[in-house]
Point group: C2
Chain length 656, copies 2
């Protein structure tokens, strides 16, 4: 049962050797060479995590001889992280001990995570197999965007997600702090911003400093985003004078692109922003500051006579030109306060200096275009975790594929990396972990590991172990599932509900908001919120069906498929009373009955395929109806085993 | 599917009425009458918990009309809690709103917990059924002892257990801070105590103050225990001059009763203790201070010529007299610092003033005896959570039963209540929640609810819901199980391991330490540590077997029993490869094979019982051997379905 390895992300190079280093209570670590408090804390934390992972006390017992792991760091990194740091390290493990060598503390931090992932329980105890690893990231910018604005995400949740990020070698927290729906950071200079714009849920500056320090300890930069000139309704509740239309404003409760936007024609707006950015530039040490800049619909600008007059006066052809004017002004303010600007595709304009960074939600083509023009870029298209896509989908998105593959070597260097995005229209403090993890780990691997590492099955087998290991960090991506199912069942037994939920996934992309007029005040406590973004059961079932169709005589697969189908067919009878008793489960009834019919049909098809017969043609229309019904979203959920059953049914027909 | 109710502890009186109060996002609470910051924080916390439990945002939406819950508190309680406080409250819920009335903040806190337990998910949404509750505790002292000395329990774990205590109306944290194996509290006056006696794991005074405040907010008193004159090895590492034999001393790593004890004959010892107690008396506001006083074996006293001379001089007959002398001196010091003494049975001595409190590990007889002599007492015998007994066992222990039932009404008043004890020889930060919860809730009910509330089946059905609800407080008693099984399996699938573990329980009472020479440095990461103290599967199976034996023609039970037995019979084949690959699971093999044989025998017996036949007499010896083997502890674990299978087998034989 020895697996190849379960490292995630896969290192640039690794070679296993004979033997193993035993890990027991006497395990010790020594820092040799350069040291600093951050490294000492990293070692303390690593020991605590090893103790948690293994359940062994690692304290008072004394080790005979030297430390089991020696760490040698060549020297310091800058006090504040920059976009490109040396994160490389070498880790050599032998029977007698392990040695981690890195040029900077970043390399040490990355190497310690690798070491922890190497610890396994073998037939003689905990161990690390002898190995030589030379590792370095493919891209220097590997981020996760968290949006605590649309739904509030408390500091403790941010912290455990920083732990998760560090575990898979992500190194940028992109913190989307302001939105139409909430202004989530304390401003001492303009306290009406957070007091009136946040429903009392915001980070104090002390909490921000603590989180930055927490991230820095883990080799993670924190890039704040203050989205402007659009996505700014919450600013205007306290400061309507910044807007392009008269107030009063209230915190936005709905989702989507809204009209309110700052007025780019008024000097007072820039004076205000100069004051605000000066405050934030001091609070956030990172050299970058994100100004958003996305999705300005221009409605307020078009309707404002003074703005229109300004544009005519300045000879501006359109709103894009007006926004470019705004961006130039903001860029000058940022520059004055020592910050480099980051923004979404929309800010791209040849008038801006080339040291800005473009974050692309549009895709590789847009990314390539800005790289050709000399701009640095990061990719987020294809990495939207809120789209509820599979880990495999995200995994296959490469920042340097498509149009970006055509770039010259120098242009390619301008593609700094990518960012997974956790937009929070449909996540709360309770569900955010399960929407980020484990899928973000697949994106992390894409951004760290060599491009050739792209075997999806292998990725999934390592992702499963990675997901389990992430639990030791306090992440709730696994445990929240049962807890939410129990709530939906009013604490009655959940076996039948779990059988259903295990084959479901939430609808994809933007189907959810288009299904009903959601607001930020609506509870996210339904089955669609509990259900995992990706059904492992459906993936396993789909593979079994494919194997069976390739070899219809295969008895093992046939039996396993049958067992699944029978359990789905018989599930509704067990689940029905629960559905009746729970207001929140009522909407799930069609899913449950559709699954029953689908499974019944699947059983017929299975039997036909297996015996080499075919389904009766006279019933074909009926079968198609069953499949179509099962493929329809219900309660914003999809039955993910439908495509595999459809393949079975089609195979049973084709045998004519 | 409407249940009677799921309240735990059951209120003194409750009566349901027609109708229900709907709980939605507009739910609001108002404090009328007396208020204080503690009550305001309680309401904020209650709103957050209601939001967690239901998954509904309870913030910005405005409620039409008045608040859904009005709280009226008559007046303040003392700044510091005393042993007897007025915790009574009245809660009336009607369709139009709810009203909670209490004399003191204690009653409000208790009533809010009841309200939260009443919230259920019905067929029209979240609701509280109309009800009138008049509630008050049967005993004023309802405690939980936590021992962070033998294994270190970090502050965060203490806090979440305080949340759990408050949820089931426990009101005393008995904090066992010093032991042979660790001195777990910072002493600013004598810093060698914690610096040399704690392996660096101890509570700072700041953390202690924070925990006391956290507890006070929840209506929980914190009684510190500084065990003396025995159980004091860790004191002597830094202060060997306090001991009755020359040092040097090292932190004790083994379990059991140890020889080191303070020297009761030397004045310097009392001077030191006066200084220490003065410091602690200031830190802990509670009127009580626990001095332990248990298990002094006298070995050091017997061997010390000066002590022997002192005893002869003072005419002391035995070591008990010497300890009584020590206790009188300590009692005087406590009294000087405004504290009332609490101690274990051993401190009981007619020379001590009657305001002290005796905590009885010996039982109701000892408790009754001290009550007759005018002393107040609390019961812990029968409430030792580390004995790994069933909730039902603890539930049936009544402080006023047995010898205590014979007491006069006035004497009975001296029985203040009881304390569940979580001694930590075999728990760590990781497993302590699962050893305390949910069983402590059954003890909490015994101490709060009327004596007539004692239906065990009803208790278990409410305990299951209570256990699930406790999860919302961050307790890990349920989630740790899977996590630990995954560790044991090195993150491979755990289904087969869970099937085995679900029917196991750790050995009882003191069988575990007698099985091997345990020390505090040994990992507690084996299957016995992951396994729950009480097997729900075994309890359900046992009941099914009893029902079947009462009515052998019952097909439903027969089928369910057969399904269980088949799954156990076939489990070993699935589990064997995992056992082979994991050093920590190797010891489990005999359990797995014994379960297989036991299930095989059970199936034969079931078939015989069902058909009214009998097992072959020639094989009887063999059957008995299978049962005996399955009844033997293996790897410190018991197969809890063995007794039920035995009943089946015996029934199959009796039918001759």
């Amino acid at each position: 049962m020895l697996r190849r390895h379960t490292l995630m992300p896969v290192p640039a190079s690794l070679e296993f050797a004979e033997g193993r280093l035993a890990i027991d209570s006497s395990f010790r670590v020594a820092l040799t060479g350069y040291s600093e408090p951050r490294l000492e804390r990293a070692v303390t934390r690593m020991m605590a995590r090893l103790s948690h992972q293994t359940g062994m006390p690692l304290g008072p017992a004394a080790r005979q001889g030297g430390p089991a792991l020696e760490i040698e760091c060549d020297g310091a990194a800058g006090e504040v992280g920059s976009a490109v740091e040396n994160e490389s390290y070498t880790l050599v493990v032998r029977r007698t001990g392990a040695r981690l060598h890195a040029a900077t503390p970043y390399g040490v931090l990355r190497g310690l995570e690798t070491f922890l992932q190497l610890v396994e329980l073998g037939d003689r105890g905990f161990q690390v197999r002898a190995v030589t690893i030379e590792d370095r990231p493919r891209f220097p910018w590997r981020g996760l965007l968290i949006d605590p604005a649309r739904h509030w995400i408390p500091p403790a949740v941010i912290k455990r997600n920083l732990d998760g990020m560090a575990a898979v070698k992500l190194n940028v927290l992109h913190w989307h702090l302001t939105e139409d729906q909430g202004f989530r950071i304390e401003s001492k200079r303009y306290p009406k911003l957070h007091r009136l714009g946040s429903d009392e849920d915001h980070y104090t500056q002390e909490q921000v400093r603590e989180i930055i320090e927490y991230a820095r300890d883990r080799g993670i930069r924190v890039v704040p985003e203050f989205d402007m000139p659009g996505h700014t309704t919450s600013w205007f509740v306290g400061h309507p004078e910044l807007a392009s239309a008269a107030g009063p404003y209230r915190i936005e409760r709905g989702w989507g692109i809204k009209d309110p936007a700052m007025d780019p024609t008024r000097e007072q707006v820039y004076e205000f922003l100069d004051g605000f950015i000066s405050e934030m530039a001091e609070l956030f040490p990172d050299p970058y500051l994100h100004i958003g800049g996305d999705e300005v619909n221009g409605v307020q600008w078009d309707a404002n006579a003074e703005i229109q007059a300004f544009m005519r006066e300045q000879g501006m052809a359109d709103n894009h030109a007006l926004q470019a004017h705004f961006n130039r002004r903001i860029q000058a303010i940022l520059s004055k306060h020592g910050k480099t600007m980051v923004g979404w595709d929309e800010i791209f304009h040849p008038d801006l200096p080339t040291d800005i960074v473009i974050q692309s939600w549009r895709g590789q083509e847009s990314l390539a275009e800005s790289a050709r023009q000399g701009y640095q870029g990061i990719l987020s298209n294809g990495y939207y975790l809120d789209h509820m896509l599979s880990a495999a989908r995200h995994y296959q998105v490469d920042p340097l594929s498509g149009a970006a593959a055509e770039l010259s070597a120098d242009e390619k260097k301008r593609v700094l990396g990518g960012e997974a995005c956790m937009w929070s229209e449909f996540v709360t403090w309770e569900t955010i972990d399960s929407r980020i993890w484990p899928r973000a780990a697949a994106i992390a691997e894409r951004l760290w590991s060599p491009a050739e590492i792209n075997d999806v099955d292998d990725m999934y087998s390592r992702l499963e172990v990675t997901s389990q290991r992430l639990e030791w960090l306090g992440l709730t991506h696994r445990s929240a599932y049962s807890r939410m199912l129990r709530r939906l069942s009013n604490y009655r037994p959940i076996d039948a509900l779990r059988t259903l939920a295990d084959v479901l996934e939430p609808v994809k992309f933007y189907e959810r908001p288009s299904s009903r007029p959601y607001t930020s005040l609506m509870p996210l406590n339904r089955l669609v919120d509990a259900t995992r973004p990706e059904s492992d059961v459906a993936r396993a079932f789909s593979r079994m069906v494919d194997e069976l169709l390739a070899d219809p005589a295969d008895e093992t697969n046939k039996e396993a498929i049958e067992t699944w189908l029978v359990s789905w067919r018989d599930n509704h009878e067990r689940l029905a009373p629960l559905i009746q008793s729970s207001a929140l489960l009522r909407e799930v009834e069609p899913l449950s009955t559709n699954l029953r019919r689908l499974a019944q049909l699947g059983l017929e098809a299975l039997s036909a395929v297996h015996r080499g017969r075919r389904l009766r043609d006279s019933e074909w229309e009926e079968h198609v109806q069953v499949l179509e019904r099962a493929a329809q979203p219900q309660a914003e959920l999809l039955i993910m085993v439908e495509p595999a059953v459809r393949r079975l049914v089609e195979a049973a027909r084709e045998r004519r």
